[in-house]
């Protein structure tokens, strides 16, 4: 009430004057945001140029995007069409991988996190529960480089490879397998490593929801004769429902950001099959062998940003519908 009165009384000029020190305080923050976030946005224009390193950029309009999607003029010869499709192949693979990796990873992580939370919630000994939580949060604080290093050593073919040696001594395989050098096994291990690192951390939010459940609901359920399974089915799961949807929406909005986890696990043998958009940008710009065309990389990045923005907006609407408030 008082706020509105104050607003009505004071005109804009004096109010700005009153807050001049705050504007001054905000200048460093603003400077950082402008230099590291807004100025790079201007760099998007390079996506409409051909920009060979060491030369000045040449305006080419939408040519980079045509190359990206493999679009050719209608009167192009079949060979030209094939060539364009071949050139666009890495982009489409990377785009597909970005979505498939993120979505499967998200579903696996969330699924396991929900399972673990439910059973952790059933545990009686609070001490054991606390220790378990401490341990399962642990991998989250290891960087992706450390995580990938740990698993690269564990999956090694030589003497130190724990996984190969264990499987061999169990008689499950005869020869050591280089898991990270074949796209098929690489992807499986990519998901395993992600679950290992992130599932525990994801339980935090579900555990917070579960501790918020009114114990009266469980008591009432017991009085109604509900066993453990029924209680989980009718009390725990419905209570988690909204949180699960929230987690899915929040993470879906960010799926285009996939980079480091893929990048640090890649090697030359699987690179082309496992690229995501962000890694493709990196290899095109920094590691393509020939003189890189930065314009092409910028175009891929711009496409990624636009899809990311679109996902954000869609998820924001979904979030408003489901839980009554947006994600932004």
């Amino acid at each position: 009430m008082q706020k509105t009165i104050a607003k009505e009384r004071k005109p804009l000029g004096p109010r700005i004057k009153k807050y001049w020190q705050f504007y001054l305080l905000f200048i460093p923050v603003l400077a950082f945001v402008i230099v590291f976030h807004y100025m790079p946005m201007y760099g998007i224009v390079y996506g409409f140029t051909e920009y060979k390193v060491g030369q000045s950029p040449i305006w080419v309009g939408l040519d980079q995007f045509k190359k990206l999607f493999g679009i050719v003029a209608a009167d192009a010869t079949p060979i030209q069409k094939q060539l364009a499709a071949l050139k666009a192949q890495p982009f489409w693979t990377a785009f597909g991988n970005t979505i498939v990796f993120s979505v499967i990873k998200l579903l696996l992580n969330t699924g396991f996190a929900v399972l673990i939370s439910i059973f952790l919630n059933e545990m009686i000994s609070t001490k054991f529960k606390k220790i378990t939580q401490t341990i399962i949060y642990l991998p989250h604080f290891m960087s992706w480089v450390v995580t990938s290093s740990v698993f690269t050593l564990l999956l090694a073919v030589g003497q130190s490879g724990l996984v190969n040696n264990t499987l061999k001594s169990l008689g499950l395989i005869n020869e050591s397998v280089n898991y990270l050098a074949q796209p098929g096994t690489w992807k499986i291990w990519y998901y395993i490593i992600n679950v290992w690192r992130e599932t525990g951390w994801q339980t935090i939010i579900f555990m917070a929801t579960l501790t918020g459940i009114d114990p009266g609901l469980y008591e009432a359920a017991s009085m109604d004769g509900a066993g453990r399974v029924k209680k989980i089915q009718y009390v725990t799961l419905p209570a988690l429902g909204n949180t699960i949807i929230t987690v899915l929406i929040l993470n879906l909005a960010k799926i285009m950001n996939l980079f480091e986890s893929v990048f640090v696990l890649q090697n030359d043998a699987v690179r082309n099959a496992t690229n995501v958009l962000q890694t493709l940008v990196y290899y095109e710009a920094f590691n393509s062998g020939a003189v890189p065309d930065l314009g092409y990389s910028v175009a891929i990045g711009l496409f990624r940003s636009m899809v990311g923005l679109l996902l954000m907006l869609v998820c924001n609407i979904a979030s408003k519908k489901v839980r009554g408030r947006g994600i932004m």
Partner: protein, 304 residues
């Protein structure tokens, strides 16, 4: 939807009538089979998490070349760790990691708290505009290559400045900080300014001392991000002389860069020792500061 509606039914009196008295107040027995299996499952889960880390730790302390799975090192020795401190190409990255983490965390906290403090001034003209200006960067970015080109024009590429300055502005952390400040009663700020405090004095005499827990949480988030930073180095500061521990480790593992064996430490021992060194600072802090580590995500979950 139908299942959801079942939940409140249990508290209605009609529900209570249905159940027989025999099932009332069934005591929770800790010796139930379920709890035994549940405990066992979680012991296995914990082992799955710990075995890889334990294996690395054992190998980092083992001086034999052959290394299958053992619970303890065969030939125990700290030579792997000693070589980190004697080999300059390993010591420098470690120093750079510490330097950037300390500077970056301090800078990051400064920017987040100042920004958050300005954004809670409800009557300040342009507050919403400034807030939106920050929020927009969370949903749209220029991308890595435009950033590289711009930073290159500013002569920031391949300097330590870029890896210290760039992650310091973190809008997500700033928003968390703002949410925390919003919880401080406005009357405290008002009375401070009535007593003649300047905004700056109110900031460091009222706002900061009242938010120690949030400062610890967000400071830890910054510290972890700086210590673990790999992407910014790889993209904008990949000069060999600027490597932090993560960059160095990645190079060692992808085997383009082998450490020179020192004393009786083999390559493998050194690799494992570097991995342990890269996680050690937070593994030591973590058990004591777990609540601050975990708090960050909860501030974000409750209010966003």
């Amino acid at each position: 939807m139908a299942k959801k509606n079942n939940v409140p039914q249990y508290v209605t009196p009609s529900g209570k009538v249905v159940t027989g008295p025999s099932k009332l107040n069934k005591p929770k027995s800790p010796y139930e089979v379920f709890h035994f299996i549940n405990g066992l499952v979680f012991i296995i889960v914990c082992l799955i998490i710990l075995i890889p880390i334990w294996k690395i730790l054992v190998d980092s302390l083992d001086l034999t070349t052959g290394s299958g799975m053992r619970l303890f090192p065969e030939k125990f020795g700290f030579d792997g760790y000693v070589s980190i401190f004697t080999d300059k190409s390993l010591l420098l990255p470690l120093g750079i990691s510490f330097l950037t983490t300390l500077c970056g965390t301090f800078l990051g906290l400064t920017l987040s708290t100042i920004g958050a403090y300005v954004l809670i001034q409800w009557e300040m003209p342009g507050r919403t505009l400034l807030g939106n200006l920050l929020m927009f960067t969370m949903i749209f970015s220029g991308g890595t290559i435009p950033t590289y080109i711009i930073l290159n024009n500013l002569h920031l590429v391949n300097t330590l400045w870029v890896v210290i300055l760039m992650p310091a502005i973190n809008v997500y952390n700033l928003v968390l900080m703002r949410n925390f400040f919003e919880g401080i009663p406005a009357s405290l700020f008002e009375s401070a300014s009535l007593d003649g405090c300047t905004p700056w004095q109110t900031f460091y005499k009222i706002a900061l001392p009242l938010s120690k827990a949030a400062l610890a949480s967000i400071g830890l988030m910054f510290a972890v991000a700086y210590w673990n930073d790999y992407t910014n180095y790889r993209l904008y500061a990949s000069d060999r002389n600027l490597y932090n521990l993560q960059m160095k480790l990645r190079d060692m593992i992808s085997s383009s860069d082998q450490p020179s064996a020192v004393g009786s430490a083999t390559e493998n021992t050194i690799k494992n020792a570097v991995i342990i060194t890269a996680i050690l600072p937070f593994m030591i802090l973590y058990p004591f500061l777990q609540k601050y580590f975990v708090k960050g995500i909860n501030i974000g979950a409750v209010k966003e």
